[in-house]
Amino acid sequence: MGEIAVSLWRGRADGSYQVYRVPQRDNQTVLDVVTWVQRNVDPTLAYRFACRVGMCGSCAMTVNGRPRWTCRTHTAKVVNDGRLEIGPLANLPIIKDLACDLQPFFEKWQKAKAVFAPRLTREDAIERIMPTTAARLAADAAIECINCAVCYAACDTVRWNADYLGPAALNRAWTLVNDVRDTGNRQRLAAVAAAGGCHTCHSHQSCQQHCPTALNPTASIAGLKRHTMQAYLRGELE
């Protein structure tokens, strides 16, 4: 079938692309390509993966300039003129080669108070939540996030503003704002109404365009804007 000239980022932030020649196969994914290089050419290549079937989000990398899940990207769709370019996710510190440090991403999740604060305990009866209420529908539309950081890597506002909490953290916060079992909304709304919070979003919709789970953080963030504005006007924000 021929060969692909694959440029892989090697090193840290001060590294560079190195080109490898990889046999192209039918039904081949970008993750297959990276794995082939590591097994057959250079065992020192660092990269992450886990499920390799599009469920865990671990294999997210930058492919031809765009963040995506490499196990769900067929080479036939992205190889141009026999060339392919693979690098680590953007907007995160590079550990080595194709692996980046997700610590800042998780820290912002905490900073957005996108953490469930329960009211009931195991001693209480289970609360019945109707899946058809407006709040539950809103939460369910955003709940499938597996924190792969593709949206975070696709966001220019994240790139331009170090304080910006980012689409994933805010999307998660939105699911909790709509969760009737949660009691942390006062602090959560204050957290997302501060500098670097939901109001920093410019609605580029790069997050929504690139989310492999077809989520829409822009919509979630718009919801947060409405809730925080109402809370602010009512004097409820700390």
Binding site: T62, N64, P67, L89
Partner: protein, 125 residues
């Protein structure tokens, strides 16, 4: 963007996400706003000229008959309309429940701004 063309790249290429209509719309919105903000002081100064004399304002208004100036004014009408319509789209996005069709709205805004500017140019010529 696509493979190593023999030139050393000192940072990973990560701008592919910008090939996105809505990202471009946001950029145009920002640049048009910046241009309008820069133009406003000049605009105000022109009308404050009346404080000096009507003749001074008249002189300036006659200057605006210059085709190069008319072209610049056409540009401003375009920028104002674009920024205004784009801004309305954002206000709707942020205050109404989510709706689809944003790319179409952006295209509509660009078209309307262009048409309005064209009408201005033709009528003012």
């Amino acid at each position: 963007m696509n493979g190593n063309r023999g030139q050393p790249q000192h940072a990973p290429n990560t701008s592919g996400h910008r090939h996105n209509t809505l990202w471009l719309a946001a950029l145009l919105h920002r640049l048009s706003g910046l241009a309008l903000a820069a133009f406003l002081p000049l605009h105000f100064l022109v009308f404050a000229l009346v404080l000096k004399s009507e003749a001074a304002l008249d002189g300036l208004l006659r200057w605006t008959a210059n085709p190069a100036v008319k072209l610049a004014e056409t540009g401003l009408v375009f920028l104002l309309t674009l920024h205004l319509l784009g801004g309305i789209r954002i206000l709707l996005l942020e205050n109404l429940p989510w709706f689809a069709g944003h790319k179409r709205l952006v295209a509509g805004a660009l078209l309307t701004a262009s048409m309005l500017a064209l009408v201005f140019l033709v009528r003012a010529a």
